[in-house]
Assembly symmetry: C2
Homo-oligomer: 170 residues x 2
């Protein structure tokens, strides 16, 4: 018997890949396709991508630009689909220039970067005050920071929201 | 008066750049030259380069390959000169395939990675047991982990030394 009021978290969304999944085999020609490895990893070759989390935090703080962190996996079809839309959308690419950009295919030890789990694709914003903008979410209640390709306009609006910095409380 | 036996550390070597130096101006065409940014940053485009320190440590431990960490700066002429020799030397590039490779233009918070200071270029090896091989040094007493282009054979011999793993003490 189910207790009254007990929430049913059964909504299954398409945006879920297990981190470090190796379910999709790489083919033999992939080495040639992938090299040299880029810091953009296909999310926008004309953007300036930061390598390390520490540098990203430092740059956000010192340049007063918000930080946009994309967690993804190269063999995750949901990540791939979002990446295609993201990299081909001019408004997104233009907006991204106003951010310190970093993308990870590997989790960092900072638990603030997985407030509701280590799934991909997952997009988080960090204010230059180094506060994670946990309030800027997508539309899936069980994976708050996930986006599908069809959510691109919500992502654009969330990027604009992130550009409005947090004000310190008086 | 100098105390007897007090070591004179006055040897000045050419391999020293201050981290985050901006003494060399970038020219206007550099944006076009640099993009897309690569993880190799010119140290070997055919090698598999890791992005984050955490992933590098994980991969070293799980694959039982030693980790080779190169700290450098893109506007440091000593780093550039070493990179040219490193990337064009077939023996180095072949040896590098037996390592987990990472290069940083930004310091990590792990103080084990700067046993004698934060200079560049600086090359450190980490054993798959996650022990920094502080014993594998170059030939400059004041910057133990620095190499000049003319030290390439010493670097090759040090890579071979790093491939001989540490054995746990019985």
């Amino acid at each position: 018997m189910r207790k009254p009021g007990m929430p049913l978290i059964l909504l299954l969304v398409g945006v879920s890949c297990i981190l470090a999944s190796d379910s999709v085999q790489t083919n033999s020609s992939e080495k040639e396709d992938k090299f040299p490895l880029t810091l953009s990893r296909g999310w926008g070759d004309d953007l300036y991508w930061i390598q390390t989390y520490e540098e990203a935090l430092y740059r956000s703080k010192t340049t007063n630009k918000p930080l946009m962190i994309i967690h993804h996996l190269e063999d995750c079809p949901h990540s791939q689909a979002l990446k295609k839309v993201f990299s081909e959308n001019n408004e997104i690419q233009k907006l991204a220039e106003q951010f310190v950009m970093i993308n990870f295919i590997y989790e960092t030890p900072d638990k603030h970067l997985y407030p509701d789990g280590q799934y991909v694709p997952r997009i988080l914003f960090v204010d230059p005050s180094l506060t994670v903008r946990a309030d800027i979410t997508g539309r899936y209640s069980n994976r708050l920071y996930a986006y599908e390709p069809s959510d691109i306009n919500l992502l654009i609006s969330n990027m604009k929201k992130a550009l409005k910095m947090l004000k310190p409380e008086l």
